[in-house]
Amino acid sequence: MTDWLWLGFDAVQVIALWVLGWLACSSRDVRRAITLFIAFGLLLALTWARLSAPDLALAEAAIGAGISGALLLAASRDQVAQSGPSSAQPLILRGLINLLSLGLFVLLGLALWYGIPQPRNELMLEVQAMLPDSGVSNPVTAVLLNFRAYDTLLELAVVLSAVMAIVALGPMRPTVAPAGFLLSGLTRWLTPMLVTVAGYLLWVGSHAPGGAFQAGAVLASALILLLLSRLPNQPAINAGLLRGLLVLGIAVFVGVGLVSMLFNQHFLAYFPGTDGGLILLIETAATLSIAAALTLAYAGGHPADWDRFENRQLPDSAGENA
């Protein structure tokens, strides 16, 4: 009986995902498309939870639905409200594209139906066998930060390069119109709670679903709320601190890798016995880095004193060079 109920649930999920994805993709109104995309992200988070992927559910809800949606909404402010009609393209081309997509779907569906890979457990059993030596007890964290730490290092580098490209494109766009006292009041309560939740997610990632990326996204949402609400006596963003935080994640990661090379002659082979501590250190730096990166991505550019940090004048050089 419960098998049929689960089958019904899965069927509803699949159809709902298709419908939401279709509506989000084919909508003409920009804001409607973004709102539907946020809803799609949340439904996808539910799907991850259904498929025994709680880490992914947390990350999708925070990053995929929350930060992505906020980013798109912020970027849509100075765009046109409606997309032009797609009759800009000739009818034949549109027909071909529709046919191509349908054909691709049929091909992929048939390939999956007849040839879906049988579950192969070699990697999973290896991970389970090495898990006690990895320093953490959450297998996803162990894979991310111990067995495949190099991939995570490169991921942090990709995030940093994307943020450098965004920062190079121009100054921070001005925030939205002042949102009023209600949002400021809510932010006053939410920010300490969000910081606590981020710290909790970071700590708990070693033995339960959680980890650096989810914590970084929650911290980024706290910073974005601060950007949006303009509390009184709010300190200006310190560009030097921001720059330091951006590179902190990669710096600590590479530093740990190089230091462990001194002991082990392998890059990123953690010193045995200190695995858990090193993973926590790397994760903390990565959380701060990702929070700074996502906030800068939302703000859309560098804060006002970014370049002044570079071109600092020494006190008496101005008079001497004149």
């Binding site: 298709w18 973004i34 995309f37 970027a75 594209i97 991310l144 943020v163």
Partner: protein, 96 residues
Amino acid sequence: MIDQTLMYGICGAGLFAIGLRATLLQSLLLLRVLALNVCGAGVFLLFVAIAYRGPAQAADPVPHALVLTGIVVAVSAMAMAVALGRRLSQLEKDSG
């Protein structure tokens, strides 16, 4: 009997096709990037569906780690694409 892996795998394939169609047909850059993200979501769904091992057993953690990396990279790439698009439209407005 259709099992979850097959069902969600086909769902992912459908999402990929939907996203691909919209990427090619939409005219605004923002909506194209959004559709590309839906493509990515379809691919992630296929990964996680293959990693699923049933309600009794823990799932395979290696595809989960890959998809987690993928989610973060997809957001950064989307942020950069959207910033480039915004700068482009700003330049067009200034020059045109």
